[in-house]
């Protein structure tokens, strides 16, 4: 199959492809790499804190006791507005309670076992989601990179008229850029459905906030929550007058009796200990892409209805499907492994894109050792900095300033590459990366 475009269109598309690719390359590489690693977000948490209590399930009464116990430790703090209970699931068989002030694991009997310590997993997720930039800015920037990935996929297909016809041809052993170009083109064409799905869902998540602000400005009198409410449900009005703690256990009993096929993943207690408190239970529906359905309960445990993510409007089901489709947590370990492999392929596609461009310039006699050295620093320095950050987490503990460590390491590696471009830092960085990977393995096993 070959797609017919004029020679001029192909050349323009190639220029567009290169322009977007080179502009986005370094940060897009970081986003793809962290996205690949964070597929195992649940597993990283278990590696970080191997001694946290684990259980296949937890009884409703134990959850009720745990919620009460956690709130009892916060009497000297401002009232928490939301309390989240992470229920044990296959990938992360732990019960964890998070409030505005703390996150703790609880045992199967409902007693507090100790603080949650997953700083590296959270750092990694934050790096992928927001590039560690606080607020909506980081998320929006990452969303823009999703848009650029979509444009790259489109321009890449137009720029390479034989890309489908040659889809099974990989001259892996050819020198002088042929092999590199083949790797780039083959991996990109065969991961195209995956790349498009990830780029689209990623940009939907990243640009969701600005989209919601736009909707709020145009249709909801600047009320952003009102723009989300038709999809994810409304926030109830608060009534801060004190009241006995809500019956959280009743929601679990109700779901077990009425929907035994569903798996509760989260309980959200809004405004606990007040008259305005209410409970939301999120339950996973098997063999669905949606992250779950939200079931609503009053403080007395009575069922009030569901939001409709599982069987409501098509838009609700679509919006609720973006997260699982993006993060690959809808089919157990096999799907996660597939996501890691294809995520790695996408990372290689981004990496090879700039390398191909640099190679072409070199073949035309334009040698730019500093550019080449800086690209080496990106390709090998970012995974090195990530690995060293992980080692720092294992050795220095959960309180280690991981964000600062990572970005300072990145800056140092890039500056070194810029000031001392020759000899090329590639080999040195590769060796350091292997050493740091071994060090992290040893740190996990004996740390």
């Amino acid at each position: 199959m070959s797609v017919a475009f004029s020679k001029n269109a192909v050349q323009r598309a190639l220029s567009a492809h290169a322009a977007i690719g080179l502009l986005a390359s370094a940060l897009l590489y970081l986003i793809c790499l962290t996205g690949t690693i964070v597929v195992f977000y649940q597993e990283w948490q278990r590696i970080e804190q191997p001694n946290a209590p684990e259980m296949a399930a937890i009884a409703p009464d134990a959850v009720q006791r745990a919620v009460a116990a956690v709130l009892a430790t916060e009497t000297d703090k401002p009232d928490t507005t939301h309390l989240y209970v992470h229920m044990p699931v296959d990938g992360l068989p732990r019960a964890t309670i998070t409030t505005d002030h703390q996150a703790v694991h609880v045992g199967g009997e409902g007693r507090i076992a100790g603080p949650e310590e997953n700083a590296w997993s959270e750092f990694l997720l934050d790096l992928h989601y927001t590039l560690n930039i606080p607020g909506l800015v980081g998320m929006t920037i990452v969303g823009i990179f999703g848009v650029m990935t979509l444009a790259l996929a489109l321009s890449g297909v137009v720029a390479h008229p034989r890309i489908f016809r040659d889809a099974f041809r990989l001259r892996a052993r050819d020198n002088h850029g042929v092999g590199l170009a083949d790797w780039h083109n083959r991996l990109s064409v065969w991961t195209l459905p995956f790349s498009l799905a990830l780029a689209l869902t990623g940009s939907m998540i990243g640009l969701g906030a600005v989209g919601a602000y736009g909707l709020a400005g145009a249709f909801y009198k600047n009320d952003v929550e009102a723009a989300y409410a038709p999809i994810f449900g409304e926030e109830h009005d608060a009534d801060v007058r004190p009241a006995p703690l809500a019956n959280v256990a009743a929601s679990l009993v109700w779901i077990a009796q009425n929907h035994p096929e569903l798996r509760p993943t989260y309980i959200i207690l809004h405004d606990p200990g007040t008259r305005g408190q209410h409970v939301q239970l999120i339950a996973e529906h098997p063999r669905r892409l949606i992250y779950g359905e939200t079931y609503e309960f009053g403080a007395d445990g009575r069922y009030h209805g569901k939001v409709g993510l599982s069987d409501g409007h098509l838009g609700q089901q679509l919006a609720a499907s973006t997260y699982n489709l993006h993060f690959g947590n809808y089919g157990g370990l096999l799907v996660k492994i597939a996501y890691v492999l294809f995520g790695l392929a996408l990372t290689v596609v981004v990496a090879t894109g700039t390398s191909i461009w640099l190679g072409k310039r070199e073949r035309r006699g334009l040698r730019e050792p500093r550019l080449r050295s800086l690209w080496d620093a990106v390709l090998w320095g970012i995974p090195l900095a990530l690995t060293l950050t992980f080692v720092a987490r294992v050795l220095a503990g959960n309180a280690a300033p991981l964000t600062a460590i990572f970005w300072v390491l990145c800056a140092l590696i890039l500056l070194s590459a810029a000031f001392r471009p020759q000899p090329r830092p590639k080999r040195l960085l590769q060796r350091l990366l292997i050493a740091s990977l071994l060090a992290s393995l040893i740190a996990v096993l004996f740390g």
């Binding site: 199959m1 269109a9 323009r12 190639l14 220029s15 567009a16 492809h17 322009a19 977007i20 969303g143 823009i144 999703g146 848009v147 650029m148 444009a151 489109l154 321009s155 137009v158 889809a167 099974f168 990989l170 001259r171 892996a172 052993r173 002088h176 042929v178 065969w190 991961t191 995956f194 799905a197 939907m204 640009l207 969701g208 989209g211 919601a212 736009g214 909707l215 145009a218 249709f219 989300y228 038709p230 063999r287 669905r288 892409l289 409501g312 409007h313 838009g315 609700q316 919006a319 489709l325 799907v335 492999l341 294809f342 392929a345 461009w357 190679g359 072409k360 073949r363 035309r364 334009l366």
Partner: protein, 182 residues
Amino acid sequence: MAAIVAAVLQLRRAWGLPRRSAVQNATAWALMLAGAVLALAGEGAWGLAVASLGGMTAAALLIAHAGWTSPRGKARASERRVHMLPGSGEPRHIGRRLTTFLFIVPLGFAASLLAVLGARALAGMAGWSDADGNAMTFLLLPLLWALLAFWLLMRPSRREQLAWLAAPAAAGLGMIWIGGVL
């Protein structure tokens, strides 16, 4: 999933033929379509997602085999220029590059946002629920922006680029205004 994997194998066969065969190609794409429809009908979006992963895995294995067995070749790599950076002695065109960035990123975003909000207003007038209309906005915003970014970069003149920015923005604004009036 079996049909999608079979489609990938058939594509491998069809594209490996010495001469192009429309029948062989069509068979592969028909299998692909049938697999997608069956997955969607049987297990919904979940089924389609899992079946797609199966197809891509099959293709990855074929590619791995092609790479493993490929002989060392003598082909010359492409040297097509992409004009991203100037050659030696060529002007840098910093202003032109910054203008392109301005057109693609902030203006492209603004035009896309206005256009999708216009589509949302149209959906409202057509009786769509708020949930469907708002979800469509979230879906269309990145899609439209990506298409617009690509299309703008394909246009040869600034005048054309401006026209392609102005058209969706004006249409969107018009729809929002009409939606507000009605």
